[in-house]
Symmetry: C2
Amino acid sequence: MAVNLQIPAQSDIHAVKGVDIGIAAAGIRKVDHPDLTVFKLAPNTAVAGVFTTNRFRAAPVQVCEVHLSSDHDTQALVINTGNANAATGDTGMEHARRTCSEAAELLDLRPSQVLPFSTGVILEPLPIEKIVASLPAAVNDLRPDNWFAAAHSIMTTDTQPKIYSTQLPLGNTTTTITGISKGAGMIKPNMATMLGFLATDAGVAPELLKEMTRSIANASFNRISVDGDTSTNDSFIIMATGQNGVQIDSVASPHYATLFASLKAAALDLAQKIVRDGEGATKFITIQVDEATSRAEALKVAYAVAQSPLIKTAFFASDPNLGRILCAIGYAGIKDLDISKVRLWLGDVLVATKGGRNPDYQEADGQRVMQAEEITVRIGLGRGHDTETVYTCDFSHEYVSINADYRS
Amino acid sequence: MAVNLQIPAQSDIHAVKGVDIGIAAAGIRKVDHPDLTVFKLAPNTAVAGVFTTNRFRAAPVQVCEVHLSSDHDTQALVINTGNANAATGDTGMEHARRTCSEAAELLDLRPSQVLPFSTGVILEPLPIEKIVASLPAAVNDLRPDNWFAAAHSIMTTDTQPKIYSTQLPLGNTTTTITGISKGAGMIKPNMATMLGFLATDAGVAPELLKEMTRSIANASFNRISVDGDTSTNDSFIIMATGQNGVQIDSVASPHYATLFASLKAAALDLAQKIVRDGEGATKFITIQVDEATSRAEALKVAYAVAQSPLIKTAFFASDPNLGRILCAIGYAGIKDLDISKVRLWLGDVLVATKGGRNPDYQEADGQRVMQAEEITVRIGLGRGHDTETVYTCDFSHEYVSINADYRS
């Protein structure tokens, strides 16, 4: 059901020097289903993360934030699916900490060198004993070429694994960037039940990596919406192992711009894959808002359009019911919006201008664009020079089925 | 499909002295389908209205606002379904004005004494000639006992007519309150493709009626959500004809409180009927948020819950997947929310407390509440003393079908 989601061939996935991955089936929710993933990182890997803004952020997110701010370098990640360990109170915090301490013992690390991640059902106790019992199997499985298996083992309602890998020349050596992501519902800006892990064998100064991660998240994982729900567990991590000899210490470093652009492209691909595999998605929709007085204003309009169930069902039906888009622009919250200056394009077709339908617009043209699997909606607000783009999908019967049946 | 929507018997609908209603089939969208409704009001009827906040508010809404602020008393309403006359630019404004001037000519009024209302598809030109051609038939049909027919003739995707009627003793006489509403999708606070018309034969000073209408709208039509989309055309009108001898000039008048409460109850019933008939609705859900520091804060949380597709699909499935509700509370935008103080009840069942699941909670109890057709979600934020309530429905396959097929 996923929309044009490219799964690279196993042979196109490049291992990242300094990253080993191990998988196990802990039986957290389903039996004999890989659901526990361990990343082992070379010492002195720089690791930075961006997390959900939800006030009910899950226990593992809270522990991640504490551990990332500790004095010791992060050398392991533990990721479980099947249970989000969210809204689980003090017990949930104990479980997240125990996950780290057990992994640390197996890997001879401090607990604060381990980051925990969980995704799945909220409000149910994490079956910690199952995780503890399966950690040794995951650790025994550690190896560099497990990226593909990891992309599978972090899936929940995803129908496809999400993986990206590239290599680029940087100075005298080759730099590898490989990453995985998961998420299909509860997806909206400021992260979602969305996990993204991106690794490179280039080295980046830790403080710089933090800034890069924030900026990259805002151009990728924070610009997607499936259903407007911001999850409790969203996490996006970049790991720079520094094992290939390239070291980037500041934005003035010779290879900074190239690496930044390449990491951003990787993150955008992984984020868009989440939308392409959005629950029940049949279309991939890009909403671009131009001529705003600020990026915040452009985003407000883009999300009003991206999150309207009425618009999303019209996309599902390939129905150019474009008045619904104007309606959403109108309620997006720009109080002094002059609608006579608003223009709306569907693909390359100018649909609305001067507060009404473009006199030259033909429904057949709108229909042609709507038939495609990938559709761009472009809105000119006629107010300023700022622009923002968000990515979303349509709203189908399948979305209702998936979410009505998720726990059963 | 509507959830417990009571349709009164024809004999329980009381005409309102000073209000005549006429209906015609203008063929705006469907042939031989009543789609044009005219209200004729006695001279000196007080009329007040509340309209959509959408910036793309439709031409008729703009004309209503101008006409209501004119010096002449409103003596007629003209309502068409099948076309919203929204996002129709200058031509749309001409059409709305022409509707008024044609009706005024037939009724011997000034154009500014006529209010126009439209509901239906956005971005398509209003077939004004069809309306003009059928206005005489509607005017010829004017009579006091046409309320039931009017409730039918203003329907769009509604499956049931929405009508309310009551009589109460006020002083030495009987006061009648009768009203109709329509709307089933694009329904969210600050009005929706929602029309509500409420009439009483009591008299109310025009300025006082304005205040009452605003206050009543905020307790009824502005507290409902079907899909979170605020339409371009929403309008709520109260008409007080003053034909029964009761006259209320200030909040200190002896019958003010009774009339206000009765009008509010009528508006709440008509608004809730819209939710009960929400597109594809199988459940009627009340979201009550208590212990907020302000009503605005309580509303923010209530709407985050009421508009989450994940929560609405879980209600459709009768699945007590209550973590999704906590998740929505968490992303509602209260930055300093202390989740350890939040409590969540489903019906009478305490589900969550202290940031996690209530230790005494049994899934069977949640399941029992979820099976019902009417469900109350109560949230205690543990922050203050303000409270707000909103009404919504679940999200079903049928919603997708209706909105994917609406124009075809």
